[in-house]
């Protein structure tokens, strides 16, 4: 499935897209791996990749506290110990734990402080809250929906990649493509190693994986051997295709090989050693930072949707201590990512979303933690967003939404709209029922859209 008309790159890129149609792309596959479609022309591929819309979601697994981030209530009984600091948006204060975002909030970012969900548990429903649930139908996640709309089939890159630094309690919430089919599911990059549980002296360190399993060659096979095999397969394939090059099944089969080879060719995208030292240092040494840097490399190459899970934020105990450690990391990595994307001219085509499955309670429990809460905040930066807009309010203690509540459906419609996708676009279930991207009648939050 190609991108929807609304999400197609326009002008030059659009024209290029026509020149290099799917037929031309597949037609070129018979010329061998090295002559694969757009990869033949790096300049064209680069241009297409550059103008394609894409999304990076920084998913705060476990539920980040809105009080210690986007919606602080200093001096209130629910406020916690941290101060609120003035942001670059007049009148808007965020937690002192986010000084870097505070200084540049006006540049790229809008914040919705009035998100309300029916969920307040560690389940993945917030990722599936776009489409109206249809009985008996497996629904696709937001990542699958977005990558289906935004993917450029003519780029041999993954459609959908998900990172997690945390295997803890399954806090990565695997996305499912549902009835869309497996091609829209994510490539999951999970931690390579789980440190031992207590007692643990902390003398070791977990090893975070930055690339998917099986990206490399099989054990024992050299690059040369693999290239030889590929060459042989290609020669045999070309010979077989003589006089049969109008057969779609055969051409598809050949293209499939080519695509797999293309994905393997993407392995360099996961290698941050390819980045200048200065860039790696800017992101930092943590797993979240390094995975976010890989996310930037992926979207730069045209991957339409990347989710980086950062957690675990389920702070039923020691909420303030945990947030004091984790929020500054989010602050730093998020600002570095936005600056990096902006410098490369990618931010106008890339939407960066920070999102959680829920928020945290105003009250503090006996473990000095905050529990699960259904009201929380989300930030949207970059592509299609009107920067500096602060939408919605909660009351003085953060108990209730006091102004402009936003549902998850409306948030998802806003995300679709920001990247140029018609949020009411319909698909059909295998039994023919129409299924819109967001529930009928849902409207995006136009105030945060450029």
């Amino acid at each position: 499935m190609s991108a929807s008309p609304a999400s197609r790159p326009s002008s030059q890129a659009h024209a290029l897209g026509h020149q290099l149609s799917r037929r031309a792309f597949f037609g070129s596959a018979g010329m061998g791996v090295a002559g694969l479609g757009l990869l033949q022309s790096p300049a064209i591929a680069e241009q297409l990749a550059k103008n394609q819309k894409r999304v990076i979601m920084l998913f705060l697994s476990g539920g980040m506290s809105q009080f210690e981030s986007w919606d602080p209530k200093p001096g209130r009984p629910t406020g916690g110990p941290f101060q609120a600091i003035q942001t670059s948006v007049p009148g808007y204060h965020i937690s002192e734990l986010m000084p870097k975002m505070a200084a540049q909030l006006h540049r790229h970012t809008a914040v919705i402080r009035s998100l309300e969900s029916k969920n307040r548990d560690h389940v993945d429903v917030t990722l599936y809250a776009g489409m109206k649930v249809v009985a008996g139908l497996n629904m696709p996640s937001i990542g699958s929906m977005l990558c289906r709309e935004l993917a450029n089939p003519e780029l041999a890159v993954p459609h959908h990649v998900m990172f997690t630094a945390s295997a803890y309690r399954g806090g990565h919430y695997t996305e499912s493509p549902g009835f869309y089919g497996s091609q829209w599911g994510p490539i999951n990059v999970l931690p390579d190693h789980i440190p031992p549980r207590p007692p643990f002296t902390g003398t070791g360190t977990s090893v975070l994986r930055l690339s998917p399993n099986s990206m490399g060659l099989p054990s024992g096979m050299t690059i040369r051997q693999h290239a030889d095999r590929e060459q042989m397969r290609d020669r045999l394939s070309q010979a077989f295709l003589e006089g049969r090059n109008r057969d779609a099944v055969l051409m598809g089969h050949s293209a499939g090989y080519s695509r797999v080879r293309g994905l393997m060719d993407c392995s360099h995208l996961y290698d941050i050693e390819k980045e200048p030292r200065k860039i790696r240092d800017a992101y930092g040494l943590t797993g979240f930072a390094q995975q976010t840097l890989v996310a930037r490399r992926l979207v730069e190459a045209g991957v339409p949707f990347v989710r980086v899970n950062f957690g675990w934020w389920d702070t039923h105990g020691q909420n303030f201590e945990a947030h004091q450690e984790m929020v500054p990391e989010l602050d730093h990595v998020m600002v570095t990512l936005l600056d990096d994307l902006a410098t490369r001219g990618l931010l106008e085509h890339t939407l960066v979303v920070t999102f959680s499955e829920m928020g945290r309670t105003p009250g503090v429990n006996g473990n000095m933690g905050r529990d699960h809460f259904s009201r929380f905040s989300v930030s949207l930066s970059g592509c299609g967003i009107k920067p500096g807009v602060i939408y919605g309010e909660t009351d003085a203690d953060g108990q209730e939404i006091s102004k402009d509540p936003v549902t998850l459906h409306e948030l998802f419609a806003t995300i679709f709209k920001a990247v140029g996708v018609d949020h009411q676009k319909e698909y059909h279930s295998p039994d023919g029922r129409p299924v819109p991207l967001t529930e009928y009648g849902t409207e995006p939050v136009s105030e945060v859209l450029a």
Binding site: G62, P74, G75, P77, T78, G79, G80, P81, F82, Q83, A165, S166, A167, Y168, P191, I194, P195, R197, P198, P199, F200, T201, G202, T203, G204, T205, S206, L208, G284, L285, T286, G287, F288, F310, G311, W312, D314, T315, H316, G317, Q318, E321, A322, Q324, E325, M326, P328, E329, P362, G363, V364, G366, N367, M368, G369
Partner: protein, 360 residues
């Protein structure tokens, strides 16, 4: 605990039964006061407490930013409260002339002890977590999230020196925190403890760092490469040779489950572990030595260990414990009298007085 049978001269003949019974050490809740709440106000947490010696007058401060003066001797105490900090009141000490408070609002404030009027405010770089007063009452040590311990002239508020030496970052590249400080009984040494499991011992007069004791079990790395734990409290043994550290061992960062409350005693000069006590799923937030070394007092805070525990002089076994009257009421700070017969604790919407009887 003194004079257990094991500590007797093995050649001594004891009268059966009565002589075998160790002298009683006991801790009792004398009184718990619940400051009145207004309307549906959430229960406030009181994070700091200090008492006027030989009296029942205590000052407490907590998450409301107020300081309360409470006469615990009154049948129905009527606290006097005033606005002090914007957010948490994290430390309180009493000098000859002043009550000094610290807050998460990056401030230290000197208050006139009698009139309770603000005398001076000194801005701090970050959250000040704890204050402690030297035994002679002349020096206040403050510990701040910029990882600097600052010494102040107690009454003038003039800075004496900064003690810098704790690492700014943990080994997982994230910011560390400085939780507490304690002077030795003679005031010659000061210990400061951090999130990453380090206790530094300083020479008070010069600011020279004398030791860096690494206690790795207090700091834990979870699967996300995030830290959890920290050394939350510290005290010197009466002879100044040992330091007791308290906190939690390797817990589940989100729930304080599958963990152990932890007190460890180190010979700080050699860095060797002298003793250890583990508890249930809670943090030991404070630890104090008896002034003659008869026992250690541990105070359980967040988690399921809302109790005071007296631990034998070897630091290995509990010998007495008492729980607060209020259920689900974590305790956050304690003040222990000089002769260790009375202590006051501050916790979730409660202030408690405890009596301690020790064998002579």
């Amino acid at each position: 605990m003194a004079d257990t049978p094991a500590s007797k001269d093995p050649g001594t003949k004891e009268a059966p039964a009565a002589a075998a019974k160790p002298p009683a050490v006991e801790i009792k809740n004398v009184k718990t006061f619940f400051p009145p709440l207004k309307g549906d106000q959430p229960k406030p947490d009181y994070y700091s407490i200090v008492a006027v010696p030989d009296s029942d007058l205590v000052f407490v401060g907590g998450d409301t930013g107020k300081i309360l003066a409470i006469d615990m001797a009154a049948e129905k105490p009527t606290p006097t409260a005033w606005d002090a900090h914007v957010s948490f009141v994290t430390g309180l000490v009493l000098t000859d002339k002043h009550l000094v408070s610290s807050g998460s609002d990056h401030q230290m404030i000197w208050w006139d002890r009698e009139s309770r009027e603000r005398v001076r405010t000194i801005p701090q770089p970050k959250w000040v977590r704890h204050l402690t007063l030297s035994p002679d009452g002349q020096v206040i040590a403050s510990v701040c999230d910029d990882m600097v311990c600052r010494l102040w002239e107690a009454d003038s508020g003039r800075p004496i020196r900064d003690l810098e030496g704790h690492a700014q970052f943990t080994r997982f590249h994230l910011r560390s925190k400085l939780y507490a400080a304690a002077f030795s009984r003679d005031g010659s040494h000061l210990a400061t403890v951090d999130y990453a499991g380090h206790a530094l011992v300083w020479e008070t007069a010069t600011g020279r760092r004398l030791a860096d004791v690494f206690a790795p079990f207090f700091f834990y790395q979870d699967i996300s490469e995030h830290g959890y734990g920290g050394i939350r409290g510290v005290d010197f043994s009466p002879d100044g040779r040992l330091i007791a550290l308290c906190g939690n061992l390797c817990g589940d960062g989100s729930q304080i489950q599958r963990s152990s409350a932890l007190i460890q005693v180190y010979d700080w000069r050699s860095g060797k572990l002298a003793s250890e006590l583990r508890g249930d799923n809670f943090f030991y937030e404070r630890v104090r030595f008896h002034h003659q070394g008869k026992w250690l007092l541990g105070m359980g805070g967040a988690g399921s260990g809302q109790k005071l525990t007296l631990i034998d002089r070897d630091g290995k076994s509990p010998v007495a414990e008492a729980k607060p009257e209020a259920k689900l009421a974590p305790m956050f700070d304690l003040w222990l009298s000089e002769n260790a017969d009375v202590c006051f604790t501050a916790g979730r919407n409660n202030v408690s007085k405890w009596s301690i009887s020790s064998p002579s």
